[in-house]
């Protein structure tokens, strides 16, 4: 007998905090997706971009300054991942009014942890006398410290957990947060993902052939050649509908169901095959008691990978079909780049904004569909359409899979 993988939850999203290349709110994010203009400079020689922006496959958050998000001492010495996570958490502190900090847990997903700090620290240990090596830099190399910094900054102490499963980390963290919430370990959970783009990671991925050959990502598109390395952080407040109502908070969405899985990739350029993705998606829908035709929007994980996108397109096509009843598909990585641990939560934040506004982002400007892929229903232009149920999928070239099913809040959820 096979174990059941997808799990349903009685859980709502009652707050979103984010920092990403388009801005620091779900509205900024959604607007950017609807505009369809990628967040990275199209000219690699653009002045003022710094070393990261000069990389042909990088989409850093230009001008990010933690002090603009959180006015506290000591933040400038934190790793960039810690800073991004704390910046995303900052707006949630006010949104958690009425919940004792000791009753708030934190779950952060990260693919790379503080890789750049690891490289910097290694460099320092070899180039300066040991007695001058900065011990605080060592602390920031440890992968759970970004989550720990979030707890320290805001006093959230019910529990603190970091999970890492590649680009699926953020959705895995949200699922783990829902598990911990439903087991009664906290009244509210701050869960999501954060990753910083770093030169070491870009070089690693460039050598691996994961990154795009040119300054374009083009998920599901013709002439796609890989991902653009992005960065960001996105955290949700998860709590029970009853508790949100009691606090006078109207939820932004319901977290109905979540699933995680793994499929050892036969080919690292491809990641899990469609045949390995479809059972998870079907299980997600089955557990939520939904017909595929009741889903209006799918946020895909596609990042421009020639073979990975093909498998994802096949899986979406297989599960949701085509034609007028097939859900619309959006591919946020065509605008944001691959933001790793933040990618799933950022896609979920965009979905929530689509639920709120009734507006579904269209294809990136200049998008040319790949005629060799199964058709993916990406609207040519943003369109007005109510979104009641949405699926967010992440799949990694290393074999991790995770998916969420979000539902628009119901009238009875209103405070």
């Amino acid at each position: 007998m096979s174990s059941r993988r997808a799990t349903t939850y009685d859980c709502v999203v009652s707050g979103v905090g984010l920092v990403a290349a388009p801005g620091r709110s779900p509205q900024d994010l959604h607007l950017s997706l609807c505009r369809g203009v990628p967040c990275w400079p199209q000219d690699s020689a653009a002045p003022g971009g710094g070393a990261l922006a000069a990389q042909p496959s990088a989409a850093p958050i230009e001008g990010f300054n933690i002090r603009e998000h959180l006015d506290r001492r000591g933040l400038k010495d934190l790793s960039r991942t810690s800073q991004l996570a704390c910046a995303a958490a900052a707006p949630l502190a006010a949104a958690l009014e009425g919940v004792p900090p000791s009753q708030v847990g934190v779950v952060l997903g990260s693919c790379w942890g503080s890789l750049s700090t690891v490289v910097d620290f290694e460099w320092e240990t070899c180039t300066v006398p040991v007695r001058l090596v900065n011990p605080l830099l060592f602390a920031e190399t440890v992968s759970n410290v970004p989550a720990g910094q979030v707890s320290i900054q805001f006093g959230w102490s019910a529990f603190n957990l970091t999970v890492s499963s590649g680009s699926a980390s953020g959705l895995a963290a949200i699922r783990e947060g829902a598990e911990l919430l439903s087991s009664g370990r906290a009244q509210a959970v701050v869960a999501g993902g954060a990753d910083a783009i770093t030169l070491p990671a870009l070089r690693v991925l460039g050598a691996d052939g994961v990154l795009a050959a040119s300054r374009g990502s083009r998920p599901f598109g013709l002439a796609r050649s890989g991902a653009i390395g992005g960065e960001g952080a996105c955290l949700f407040i998860l709590e029970s509908p009853d508790r949100a109502r009691a606090r006078g908070v109207t939820p932004m969405a319901r977290l109905r169901c979540a699933v995680i899985g793994f499929a050892e990739p036969r080919d690292p350029d491809q990641g899990p095959r469609a045949e390995e993705v479809t059972p998870l998606l079907r299980d997600l829908l089955d557990q939520a008691a939904l017909d595929p035709r009741e889903v209006q929007l799918v946020a895909a994980s596609a990042c421009g990978s020639p073979r990975g996108d093909r498998e994802e397109a096949r899986a979406i096509h297989e599960v949701f079909g085509r034609g007028p009843e097939a859900p619309f598909v959006m591919a946020p990585k065509g605008i944001l780049g691959e933001t790793w641990g933040a990618s799933g939560p950022l896609a979920a934040a965009a979905v929530i904004e689509s639920m709120r506004t009734g507006r579904i982002p269209g294809r990136p400007l200049g998008f040319v569909p790949d005629p060799d892929l199964p058709p993916v229903n990406m609207p040519p232009e943003p369109l007005a359409r109510p979104v009641r149920n949405a699926v967010i999928l992440t799949r990694t070239e290393t074999g991790h899979l995770s998916a969420l099913l979000l539902q628009a809040p119901e009238e009875r959820d209103a405070a």
Partner: protein, 412 residues
């Protein structure tokens, strides 16, 4: 646990500085055989400390080696996992039903490949070849390798929660089973001896120049270690129905965060208190029923003082008589592996009815007013044990482990 299914342990494996199998590991714990020696993995001439607890020479059989996607940390993890699966006798079951979960705890992950590549280049320039050693994704490569070795398709989760990670791995695996999310889970804690960690802890002033003396007055600090441990967790019903021996139960998983400081514990031990109480409440076990605590007990002044304070706060008047020991005097601090190795030590202690002592203890510290079981194994019937783990980021975890009915030891 929070679910309706009672999770039990049916297989264990260890790769440690004091033993590459359960039997040797247990004998070393009782005999006081230390893993401490001059560091072999890298040059320590520029460092104040040169003693560490490294795993002795080991071999990786070809059937295991072909699944190693990373470096030394992955090797240690796979070897421990192979032992645990063999003891549990679930190899054929995993092939039939591959949807078991893998939960891995680690601190640094598999960064040693990167260190080794960098060490080859005296000019210290970062070139693509050196950075390519990070391409295996050092944080989650151990879990992916384990899934690959056993052909698993269930969730593969890595909890890089630093020095509490091994305990997190067991607690998360037990929660998955207890809540019916999976029928079986493999929990692994692993860490390779890392130059980065060695230098880092040296600069934090936490390292002992010679021995680790947990809870002893004037204790000089911790020794860094490495290793891996693995446990197979499944439902009691499944274990009994297939006739597998139950080695112990995971009845509680207490979590908390200090939310105080990145590297130091809360001075009042509040987080440690909440983690212990959380484990007890989850297991619905009264405080009086705890027979032994396997302490985090790193041997640093601050950790042992605060952990002792937390034990006194939780157990009150009983605290001075409650046995609390640390095995880190022998194994060193195995960081991400520590919580898992120490849980295995706790399960072995219940099975054999003997408390592994705190070796190297010299003199009572008034700030550690606990019974730290100094220097001599102590026979005891152990029904319920707490295993504590604390970490950077203020991450605290306590496991409540319970003995199987046939556990040994004299009734106190």
């Amino acid at each position: 646990m929070t679910g309706t299914i009672r999770p039990c342990v049916t297989g264990m494996g260890v790769i440690t500085p004091i033993g590459l199998d359960l039997e040797t590991f247990w004998e070393s714990l009782l005999a006081g055989k230390s893993g401490a020696a001059a560091v072999r993995s890298f040059d320590t001439s520029a460092l104040k400390s040169s003693i560490g607890c490294e795993v002795p020479a080991y071999s990786v059989p070809e059937p295991v080696r072909r699944h190693v996607l990373g470096g030394r940390c992955t090797e240690l993890a796979l070897l421990a996992a192979a032992q645990a699966v063999e003891q549990a006798g679930i190899g054929p079951l995993l092939r039939e039903a591959p949807d078991a979960a893998v939960v891995v705890g680690t601190t640094m992950g598999d960064v040693t490949l990167f260190e080794q590549e960098r060490a080859k280049h005296t000019d210290r320039q970062a070139d693509d070849r050196e950075l390519a050693s990070l391409a295996h994704r050092p944080l989650d490569v151990m879990g992916r390798s384990i899934a690959r070795m056993f052909g698993l398709s269930g969730p593969v989760t890595t909890a890089p929660t630093a020095c509490a990670a091994g305990a997190y791995a067991i607690g998360m695996a037990a929660a998955l089973v207890s809540r019916g999310r999976v029928r079986r889970a493999l929990a692994v804690g692993c860490e390779a001896f890392s130059r980065l960690a060695f230098v880092g802890f040296t600069r934090l002033g936490a390292m002992s120049p010679d021995l680790c003396r947990p809870f002893s007055k004037d204790r000089p600090g911790l020794l860094l270690g490495e290793g891996a441990a693995a446990v197979v967790v499944e439902s009691e019903k499944d274990a009994l129905s297939r006739g597998a021996p139950v080695l112990g139960y995971v009845d509680g998983f207490g979590l908390s965060c200090d939310a105080y400081h990145v590297t130091g514990p809360h001075p009042e031990g509040l987080g440690a208190v909440r983690a212990m109480i959380g484990a007890l409440e989850e297991g619905q076990i009264p405080r009086d029923a705890i027979d032994y605590i396997n302490a985090h007990g790193t041997g640093t002044h601050l950790n042992d003082k605060v952990e002792s304070l937390a034990v006194r706060r939780v157990f009150g008047e009983r605290a001075p008589r409650l046995p609390v020991s640390s095995i880190k005097a022998l194994t060193g601090h195995m960081m991400g592996a520590a919580g898992c190795v120490e849980a295995v030590a706790s399960l072995l202690a219940m099975r054999h009815g003997v408390i592994p002592p705190t070796w190297n203890w010299l003199e009572a510290d008034p700030e550690c007013a606990i019974d730290c079981v100094p220097n001599e194994p102590r026979p005891a019937r152990l029904r319920h044990v707490l295993s504590n783990s604390y970490a950077f980021g203020g991450n605290n975890a306590s496991l409540l482990l319970s003995a199987p009915p046939d556990a040994g030891g004299p009734v106190s």
